[in-house]
Symmetry: C2
Subunit: 256 residues, 2 copies
DNA sequence: CAAATAGTGTCTTTCAGACATTATTCA
DNA sequence: TGAATAATGTCTGAAAGACACTATTTG
């Protein structure tokens, strides 16, 4: 910023935040979308977000907008791991005015349906399987409007998916997709869902348990998973945040 | 952006870009700084950058500002690998007005001194060893003003260093620090300089040469490096961009 | 018992770290 | 020749991939 504050150089921008909030439900990756109530893109699906106010940072704004616009419970929003993705600043990304948007990603565990939908301002928020979004619909799509998202949100969503996929490789963030206590099978299915790859179960166990601080066993606890079979031991997230060495995606894995 | 365009919600921000441009020179990591000519922080060192204009993206602005403010040759700026780092939006990061800044990192090969310094607008641009910046000066610092940078640029610089370090682990970006043709010893010294770690030469060679598309041999070419010893073979950057598997930093390497 | 799910053990290959050795050049 | 630098080879141990096998539960 050498140029200082030449008045001719100062140009007013609007600054917004957009959020790509993911969850894993039923073996599919979902993202939280809201249906727009105003122009432009009225009626289209969009990522939640909104304007940054004069006295808050982008991250603060992101957390506030998420609480206002979606039905996510207060405690979930407050504890959310929010990561800045990148900033989108193409001049014509908004048809009306110059808007620069700071995008964030967040991961939450699957929630009881009513809490996730909420009421009031959140009446138009919905978890959407990412596979149902885009111009080449999977058969059985419920909503034809998902063919394209508002603004450049399809690009933001794609970038966010890629980021989440690589974060799983070298951080312990996958536990953020799980409830407070989870089985290793559930943790593995998070990886398989996000990467869309099958993983070898014994090798996955070995890797996770060999990483100090990734997960901690809950002594004595067990949970029956599929109604049948041996109950699985339960684990909690451990204190570690990084994975050394990383848990790399299979290079050419069959995509199930 | 569900909220639409409620006039009460629209707040004008200034949007700027800041650049952390690195090079390796003489076994030390350097960053390009400029000395500010105006308030605030007049006389302080700062990262190059400036305002985004109404019809350009942040990345376009970053490239333009770099060309205007520093003496970097046109062709270098045009071909530069520019990567968005993150956006800094704390409300009081600029003492005068609300400024949101999109930060970028870039890597360049060491340049002939005059070209890097330039004249005119670039008269106050300088390559500064990153070790000489900050409150705990290495002995022999030339410039006491480097104890602190303008605005939050010390934070941006620290984030950029961390990002560059990890990019070297899983991308082929290290070649961006090298001239068009380089020796493996030069490439290794890039890693050693950025990571501040000594690497085993035979193992480094093996790893680099075993990664398809990282580097390509220049047939027959060789260069004498230290005035003595066997001339080293020359290599060019290859077509690969990612490193699979990654070249990880030694966990507890001696720091030379 | 069969089906389903959790969990263990083992073999093999790949790869990284350590380090000895050879090759080529200049003073 | 000796110092300096590049390049090759080898041993070892850690970790990943493949996969056979055991354990515990429900119906």
């Amino acid at each position: 910023m050498t140029a200082g504050y030449d008045p001719a150089a100062f140009v007013p921008f609007a600054v917004t935040v957009d959020l790509a909030v993911f969850t894993v439900r039923g073996g599919r990756l979902h993202v939280l979308l809201i249906r727009r109530g105003q122009q432009p893109y009225e009626g289209a699906w969009a990522l939640p977000g909104g304007f940054v106010t004069p006295r808050e940072s982008a991250e603060t704004a992101a957390r506030r907008e998420l609480a206002e616009e979606t039905g996510l419970p207060e405690n979930v929003v407050a504890a959310l791991h929010l990561e800045q993705l990148r900033t989108y600043s193409e001049p014509d990304r908004d048809p009306r005015m110059r808007v620069v948007s700071v995008a964030f990603t967040a991961l939450v565990a699957d929630l009881p349906e009513p809490a996730a939908q909420g009421g009031g301002d959140a009446a138009h928020a919905r978890w959407v399987p990412v596979g149902e979004i885009g111009p080449h619909p999977a058969s059985g799509r419920e909503d034809a409007d998902l063919a394209s998202l508002a603004f450049d949100h399809a690009v933001i969503l794609a970038d966010a998916r890629e980021r989440v996929g690589s974060k799983l490789e070298y951080t312990c963030l996958a536990t953020a997709f799980c409830p407070p206590e989870f089985t290793l099978g559930e943790l593995q299915s998070v990886y398989e869902t996000v990467w869309d790859t099958a993983l070898d179960r014994p090798n996955f166990r070995r890797k996770v348990l060999a990483t100090p601080g990734f997960v901690e066993a809950v002594p004595g606890a067990a949970r029956l998973t599929g109604g049948r079979g041996k109950p699985a031991a339960l684990y909690r997230p451990g204190p570690a945040t990084a994975l050394h060495p990383p848990l790399l995606r299979p290079s050419e894995g069959r995509t199930r």
